[in-house]
């Protein structure tokens, strides 16, 4: 990755981070899209899409319900998607494992930072409370702008750190990985599918909804057998 690529990845990561809650919540921040975007920046969409698809499975665990603080997958996935795409020889399962770890940590840190941004937004509201109660539109605009700026700063930091860590994980540490590639593959597949299986069952429950889920699993299994 050259300097321009790095700048583009960080800018894209920042924009994707804003999508999570601030603007426009159009799901550009979902790993499936964010990973692809990261790959596109470095001219290799497919590796980015691959890691994005794996992370999408993990992202199905938590729903952004109510005022819940959920992991923020966007900026980190853009970064690791770009790292995956920037390795022309392709990423082995162990490298993928390292990038997934970086993205999971980044998503978790992103959730924590969102909490800090929301707390800082309270400070803005407190500072402008009198103006807000007087119906001053400038106070409203200032609070909105400050909120956006804080969220952009959070996303920028997240994308930058994930990019740096992802690069280290993929290029330096993956070469030293002494475990088998099969082990990395098994752990990735088992944990990602296990997460969705649990999340799907938790939401569906043992009643009729559970039957719909099982029916879907059966249909998916048939499609898989038919195709292989």
């Amino acid at each position: 990755m050259n300097g321009l690529d790095v700048a583009a990845v960080v800018v894209l990561g920042t924009l994707v981070g804003l999508d999570v809650a601030s603007v426009p919540q159009a799901m550009f921040s979902r790993p499936l899209v964010a990973g692809l975007l990261g790959g596109v920046v470095v001219g290799a969409p497919l590796p980015g899409l691959t890691i994005g698809a794996i992370l999408e499975l993990f992202a199905m665990d938590a729903l952004p319900v109510g005022a819940a603080r959920t992991p923020d997958w966007g900026p980190g996935t853009v970064a690791v998607g770009a790292v995956a795409g920037s390795h022309p020889s392709g990423i082995m399962a162990s490298g993928l494992l390292g990038l997934v770890v970086v993205a999971v940590v980044s998503a978790w840190v992103g959730g924590l930072l969102t909490h800090q941004v929301r707390r800082a937004n309270v400070d803005s509201v407190v500072r402008y409370r009198t103006a807000l109660e007087a119906g001053d539109v400038r106070a409203l605009l200032t609070i909105q702008r400050q909120g956006l700026l804080r969220d952009a700063t959070r996303s920028f930091a997240l994308a930058s750190i994930a990019l740096a860590l992802g690069d280290v994980a993929a290029s330096l540490l993956a070469r030293r990985w002494g475990g088998s590639q099969d082990l990395a593959l098994i752990v990735l597949a088992a944990s990602s599918i296990g997460v969705v299986l649990h999340a799907g069952w938790r939401r569906a429950g043992p009643g009729l909804q559970g039957l719909w889920l099982l029916g879907g699993v059966g249909a998916g299994a048939l499609v898989t057998v038919w195709l292989t």
Partner: protein
């Protein structure tokens, strides 16, 4: 741009200043503001300032369905409804709009379209899978925002009528089963895609591992986070692999 269009555009930044005190309140006021300029006396008038202050008070609902409340509140302000009725309307709508939106979008439409996107990737659709996910999700998302604002704008204080629409009821009935089926179907397809080219033994171990992982999460109870457990397992494997060398 007419006021309706400006309010609609601003609804996309409803949560820009989300905070633990007023939650979406400031964004609500910001979204409603262009329509309030038409109040008697204009942006310098007392009615405008009183309405703006009121609309920036506490509010929290599903971000897409909040458009219904914004439209209804704007209409109520334009109709000169008593302030306490407008305040009550806003408070009353928080729960139902949050509940409907969470069920329809976060618990159903998002998992369903996301699972469909995953299945498409696994079936070889490449980047079209992500595009299909985005388009499919956002057609319904944007339609919901437009419908909500229009319905609120038309009904004002009687906005509850919009929540009883047959389309919304039908969507509530269909959404959860649809999500369950699509997520279920995506599971084996995504599993096979991840293990393409692997030996039968690897498939078997991974399948048993996935089932065990889900069972362990189930045993850990509702507060257990799948991502946290998966992250810990992946990190441990990774570190073990590094130390092995």
């Amino acid at each position: 741009m007419p006021a309706f269009g400006r309010v609609l555009a601003r609804l996309f930044v409803l949560q820009a200043s989300w905070n633990y005190e007023r939650m979406q309140g400031v964004g609500f006021g910001y979204a409603a503001e262009p329509a309030l300029r038409a109040l008697e006396g204009g942006p310098q008038g007392a009615r405008y300032r009183a309405a703006l202050a009121r609309e920036a008070h506490f509010f929290n609902a599903h971000p897409y369905f909040a458009s219904l409340a914004v439209g209804a509140a704007v209409r109520a302000e334009m109709d000169g409804e008593p302030p306490e009725r407008i305040e009550r309307l806003r408070e009353t709508l928080c729960g139902p709009l949050g509940s409907i939106g969470d069920r329809l979008f976060w618990a159903s439409w998002l998992p369903a379209t996301s699972a469909l996107g995953l299945a498409l990737v696994a079936l070889g659709a490449r980047w079209w899978a992500a595009v299909a996910f985005l388009v499919l999700y956002n057609v319904v998302h944007v339609a919901c925002r437009v419908w909500g604002l229009r319905a609120g704008w038309d009904h004002g204080l009687k906005v509850v009528l919009a929540l009883q629409s047959p389309a919304l009821r039908a969507a509530s009935r269909v959404a959860a089963p649809l999500a369950s089926v699509v997520v279920g179907a995506a599971l084996p397809i995504a599993f096979a895609w991840q293990l393409r080219g692997a030996s039968e033994r690897t498939w078997l171990v991974a399948a048993v591992g996935a089932a065990l992982f889900a069972i362990v999460l189930r045993l850990l109870g509702p507060r257990a986070s799948g991502v946290a457990l998966a992250g810990a397992l992946l990190a441990l494997t990774w570190v073990a692999g590094l130390l092995w060398s």
